[in-house]
Every structure is written in C-alpha cells, then in structure tokens.
Symmetry: C3
C-alpha cells in the first residue's frame, strides 16, 4: 500500500485527493494557488458560475458540525455548476451503526465524484481515499487535530496576495497551537513555500515543544512572538479550553495573548492579521484589530471560495493509480 | 445615518431592502404587486423558471424556525434561477458565540446578493441593512413582533385580486393582534393602499388600545368586528398563548372568536376569508370556513411565491446609496 | 371513491402515483424496469443529467428519518434536472399541529409536481393521493410496515439483471419479515413477475403464518430456507427488535440466521445475495458474504437511482382521472 503521503498524487504527480498540506509538493501547491487566482475573478462576475463540474456530484459529509466550512464548499461546488448533496450525518445511517466505509461505499454506488469530508477522527479522509474507486476524490475539510488543508491553502493564497515573497517572511501563529489542525497545516505549507521564519506563540499548556522538529520557533511571550512579524495568524480559542485545566480563563488569555492595536505595533508596520474564523472578539483578538486596517480576515473568506473551487476543479480531471 | 424608514430605498426612491411595509411608499408597494402579477403566470408554465437571478446567491438565514416561510423563499429564489443556500443557524457559528453581524459579514465575503432573514429580535434586519455593502440586499422574513412585510404584501396581492378597489373596503383582522407582526405589517400596507376601514378584533388581552393611533378601530366583539366586512384576516393563535394568562383556553377562544359559517354571515355575502397559516382548525377557524367557498387561504400561498419572486427581482437591480 | 389499489393508475392504465407494488399490473412493473434500464446508463455519462423534469418541483417529505433513501430520491430528481426541496418535517408546521393534508395542500399551492413521502403510518401516501390535484404525483418512500415500492422495484431490477427468467427462480427473504415493508413489497412484485417459489425465513417471532395467503412458504430454519435458492434477500435486523421480547440477542440471531460463507453454500452456486441496507455486519450478514463475490448489495444501490428516475419520469407525464 502506498504511504498516506503519496495517496494524494497519482504516479504522474497529479492531485487526486487533498488530504494534507504535509507532503504536498511545492509545484502542486503553487498550481492550486494559481488556479484559485483565476477563480477569484468569477465571484466578481454578474453570473458567478462556470460549467466545469456540470453534472458532477459533490457530497458534503460533515461528521463534525461546521456550517461555515460546509457552506464554503457548497458555494464553491455550486459556482462550478456541480450538484451538491449535503448529508446531515448526525441523523443518518451511521447513527444506525453503519460504518464510515459502508456509508461512502453506498454513496459511491449512487455515483459520486467528490466527497468533502470533515471528521473528528484524524485520518478518516485517508481511510476513505484508500478505498474509493480511482475516479472518486476525497477532500479533507478537517480531520481531528490532524489537518485542514483547504484552510491552509487559503491562508497561503492570502499571504501571497499581500506578501508575494515568502523567502523574506516572518509568520507568527498565535493561540492554541496544540489542538489546532489549522496551525499544523499552515506550518507544512509555509515550509514548502519557504517562509523565512515560522513562530508558534502561546502559553506552555497550548504550545508544546514537540513542534520544534517541524522547523518552528516556539515563543511563550506574545511580544517575542510577533516582534517584526510580517504575518500574524490568530487562532480561535475553543470554548472548551477556557473551562478546562489548560487555561485559567478567557479574560486571562486576552490579557496575556489577546491582539490589541497597541500590541500589534510590535509587528512590522505593514503586517497583516489573519484568523480562520469565527473570531472570539475580546478573547484572542480585539475588535479594533479584527475590524482594523491590518486585518485581512474577510478577504481570507473570499479567497477561501476560490481556493476550494481550484481544488475541486483540479482533482476532477485526474485519476488515481489503479 | 439614515432613518430606518428610509433604509429600504435609495435616493432615487428604488427598493434596495424590504424591511417593513411601514414607510414603504404607495408607488413602490404597487410596483411590487404589479411585478408579482407577471410572476404569477410563471408557476403555471410547463417549465416554471425564469433566468432573472441566474448566478446570484440567496442566503436563507432563519434564526427562528419556519419551514413554511423558508420554503416559499427557497422556491421563489429557485424559480428565478438563483443559487439558494439555507443556513441552519441553530447549529452554526452563532451558537459558537459569533455575532449576527460577523455571520453576515462572513457570508457577504463569500459573495452574497440577497439575505432573507428571520429573527426573533425586532430590528435585526435593520441592523444588517445598515452594515452590508451597497449591492447586498436584506429581505425581512419576520422580525420579532415587529414586521413581516412579504406576508403583508401577499395579503395585499390577494385582496386586490378579489377586491380591486381598496377605497371602499372594510377589512377586519381577528385574533392575537398584540403579538402579531403580520397584523402590524398588514395595517401599514392597508393604510398606504387607502382601505376605507381597518378593524382589529379580539379579546382585550390580545388587542391593545395602543393600536388606535395606527388608524384602526378596535372591536372586542366578533360580531361588531366583522359586520359588513369585505375581507376577514384570521390570525393564527399561538399555542403558547393558550397556556398563558392571556387566554382561558383554546376552546373558550373558539366559542368567542372562532370563525364559523354561521358567524361568517355577519360579514358581506361576498367577503373573503384569509389566514397567514398554518391554520389551527377548531381554534380560530372552523374547517367548514377554512375549506369553504369564501376561503382564499390556498390562493394566498400561491400568490406568496409570486410576491417573493417580485421582491427579489426588484431589489437585485438596485443599489443602496454609498 | 376508487379503491386504494386503483388509485395508482388512471383510466388509461397509466401510472399516476406509486403507492405499492400490490395491484401494480405486470405491464406497468415491466415498463418501470425497462425505463430504468435506459437511465442506468445516464450515471455513466460524463454529464449525468437529462432535462426531463426541468422546471418541475419535487418535494421530499420525510416524516420518518432516512438520510439514505432521501438522498437517493434527491439524486434521482436532480439527475432529471428537477428542483428538489427537502422538508425537515420534524421541525416544521406539523409540529405546530398542522395536519398532513394541510401541509401537502399548502405545498401544492406553491406548485408541486411530485411529493416523495415517507411516513410512519401505513396508508399516509394513499390519503395524500386521494386529495391532491390530478397533475400532482405521490411516490411512497416507505409507509409504516405497509409498503416500500421503490425498494421492491430496485430489487426486481437487480434480480432481473442477474437472473432474467423469473419463472424458474427460488427467492428466499430472510430476517424480520413481520415488521418489514420491504418484504411485503418484494413478495407482491415477485408474484406479479411470476417467481417460481418465494420463501420467508426467520424465527417464529418474526415470521408469522399469516404470510401464507400471500403465496409464500414459511421456513424457520435457515438451511431449509435458502437450500437451492437463486436469490437471497437478507433484511436488516432493526436494533429495537434486538432489545425487545421478540429476539434473545443479536449474537443469538447471527448464530441461527446470520448468512456466513459456509451457510451460503446451501444455496445454488450462482445465487446472488441482496440487502436493502444499511447492513448490520455480524448480525444478519457476515462481512465475508457482504463483501464477497455473490453480493450484489452495491449494484442494488446504483440501480436504485435509475429505478427512482424511471418512476418519476413516468408519473410526470400522466394525469389522474378527474
């Protein structure tokens, strides 16, 4: 069996699944960003649709709830003219005890082209990619703490849009690094694109030293972490952490790591501020920063549609190795 | 900042949002009804679609549950060839603490054209209309006890269909006036169209005297209220009122205010009976009336699709003042 | 009033509703299977759509939850280019006390062409078929313990695909026959198509003698039941039965009636194994059989789309008697 890393590409090096930014070659990553650039203009047209996926079936399988991410895939697929089917898995046969593989085998038999999968268990999209037919494509929309590759790709698109030269960039990722699949996927993509320095910033309970082998610098002081940074990616602080043993309180977090206009001055004057959303105003980010001139949070959302259109339009033309 | 009243129109007097029938000028109201008249025939065609909103994105944001109203907007937008996205807000990021404005800002960044919003808080659609970009349109699908303008417009369409001359009409609205956004929106529209007399009819607990300044006559006897009426609009009695302090019981309400064939004879012989639905048979209306020859309840539903198509097709072409 | 049996056909013998395989004439049944054969190839095309239902409205009314069946109808209608509206009835006006007939009357007023109805009460689709307008069609997607005609039709399609000559076939249906609408609908269809022998197989608590008048042979031993069978239809054992008084346990059921590769040898060597899904691995069927060479469970799913497309495309052209 091929390694999970190679499962995304066929023997011609073409993308057949998008499972992770880890192991995604630089040329593939750039190909996605370039293709997204072409789609970014589609949203500005009077008629926002292109017929690339006409007659194709995209199944949204969200085993973990996320209206926002699901909607972005729904919009992206619809703008490509695909037929989109959203399965509310909480209510479906899986609750009758059917396995994930059986669910996908059944949907495949109804003729599916793309499965967009979010799952609480790390590796679930890999499992599916190993079992579907060669013409069926899996896109990971977030699996456990493992990966969230389309978020990372839209982050890369956003960074490149504002800061085209990665080789000189200092990027700081701030917050709950430990539980963040976004952080993990961003780090892999940033390394592939050759970012000069990647810092992960947060309290010791949320930033573990085991990130160091990934080629990042760990900082437990916000000032140290964002000093001279070109890009600051603020992560969402999950509500469950605030009530757990890992954090004293959300007020305490804001006092120590919350990004305010005053603290933002530690970064470079032209630094951009990003956030995967939804934001917690007054927890990890001050409203004056979120809504301020350095924030590119809403452009991230727009670019996210283009990036997801790009990924779907690329995989649909490729076939996995038999 | 413009007043809420003027928020619906741009400086050319064109409709950019539909928030309320209050302050909606007579010519705009008639323009919507006339446009709806053209769409009413679309539903009779073999292929029930027109391409007016092709490539446009309509987001159904129902913070308050209503399968029926949501479905009518879904159908109306689909018949205009729009792409419709329905967000189950109960499960979405708002439950993660994201604000209404942030949710809409994010969806706008995904490129939205129309937001159809139902919300338990009066004024929520106004708040949104004040913040969206000039080319984005808000349609109020019911906010708190405040307004339900598309219901009022379909009511006006229905009345005009059967009784073209408003200047001679006696219209009685019967039931829980106090909590009814439908009653409020109907009264504003009826006054704008110059109805001769508007009566609000119900027990003192459900019909407050503060309606008098709206130019209506309050009646606490059903006989007085519908005597000589041309149009009777029966309101749905909400289940929660039946168990509250405001009403003794649903049986008691039916004995006093329920519309039976016998009581219907108090009205004009050609009176029409309307209801926004869903009806409570045997509570506010007898089945023999609901299903009888004077009932226009099902035509109201049909006209509702045409009216919502009209509103969407009108706002899409207009731009708010910068 | 016409009998329920004749409600499906107009006076020209054309199909206007699909309510049951009971009373469905042989020529109509074959017409559906033949039409499905034409649609089976649509799923293999690059663009999987035909414009037969363009501009038509199909409403999925699932009063009983079934993501899988609902999705197959959604896919079938979408591939015919219909507009599909799915109503989550659990959250809708029916929970506000609106009756089934009022719900459908209202949706009909919005101009509906086809209602796909699943309901926990036997006969609900008949009730609707008696009340809708002549150009509106009802498709039963499962009512109580009564009927599941599209499942039976896809089962017949599958059998005919592998075993074209029904007159020589021995078909065994195994499991909880008593509560199974699939078994009932299969038996009627098999008799109409002239199957040589139909056996119902299971414990006495789940196979009642009252099936004998339907022309079946009851067997309480699996070996007796499947000996020499050409077709074995394994039914899903409902979880609620396992905890009830009707069955000792799922392990016990598997020991006695579970289909293993060893037991499958009792059947004819070229026997096919079917299951309506979702399967309970290790309860009614061993994984080695479900995934083995005699299993046609996944082809059943594929054929199910074609059969549902066939039913919808046939009824849409026919009109009920006035």
């Amino acid at each position: 069996m091929r390694s999970a890393r190679n499962l995304q590409l066929n023997r011609n090096g073409e993308l057949v699944h998008l499972l992770s930014t880890e192991g995604l070659p630089r040329e593939q990553l750039l190909h996605i960003l370039d293709t997204a650039g072409q789609f970014a203009s589609v949203s500005d047209r009077e008629v926002k649709k292109v017929p690339l996926l006409r007659g194709k079936s995209v199944f949204n399988l969200f085993f973990e709830d996320s209206t926002r991410t699901r909607t972005t895939f729904d919009i992206a697929a619809t703008r490509l003219s695909a037929d989109v089917y959203t399965l509310d898995i909480g209510h479906s046969s899986t609750s009758k005890g059917e396995s994930l593989l059986d669910t996908v085998a059944n949907l495949s038999a109804m003729v599916a082209d793309i499965f967009v999968v979010r799952h609480a268990e790390s590796g679930a999209p890999y499992l599916l990619a190993q079992h579907v037919a060669p013409h069926v494509h899996i896109i990971n929309a977030g699996d456990g703490r493992h990966a969230h590759p389309t978020q990372a790709l839209l982050d890369m698109y956003t960074i490149r849009h504002y800061k085209p030269d990665f080789s000189s960039l200092v990027v700081a990722i701030v917050g709950d690094i430990r539980h963040s699949r976004v952080a993990r996927s961003d780090i892999h993509a940033l390394r592939t694109l050759g970012a000069a320095e990647i810092r992960v910033v947060g309290p010791r309970t949320l930033v573990s030293a085991d990130m160091v082998p990934m080629g990042v610098r760990t900082c437990h002081s916000l000032q140290e972490g964002i000093s001279g940074a070109d890009v600051i990616i603020m992560l969402r602080l999950q509500r469950e952490r605030m009530h757990g043993a890992l954090l004293p309180s959300s007020e305490e977090f804001f006092r120590t790591y919350g990004l305010t206009p005053e603290r933002l001055q530690w970064a470079r004057p032209d630094a951009i501020v990003m956030h995967p959303g939804p934001i917690n105003r007054g927890v990890e980010i001050d409203s004056r920063v979120a809504d301020g001139p350095r924030s590119v949070i809403l452009p991230q959302v727009s670019f996210g549609i283009a990036v997801r259109m790009a990924v779907m339009s690329i995989v649909i033309g490729n076939e996995a190795d038999p």
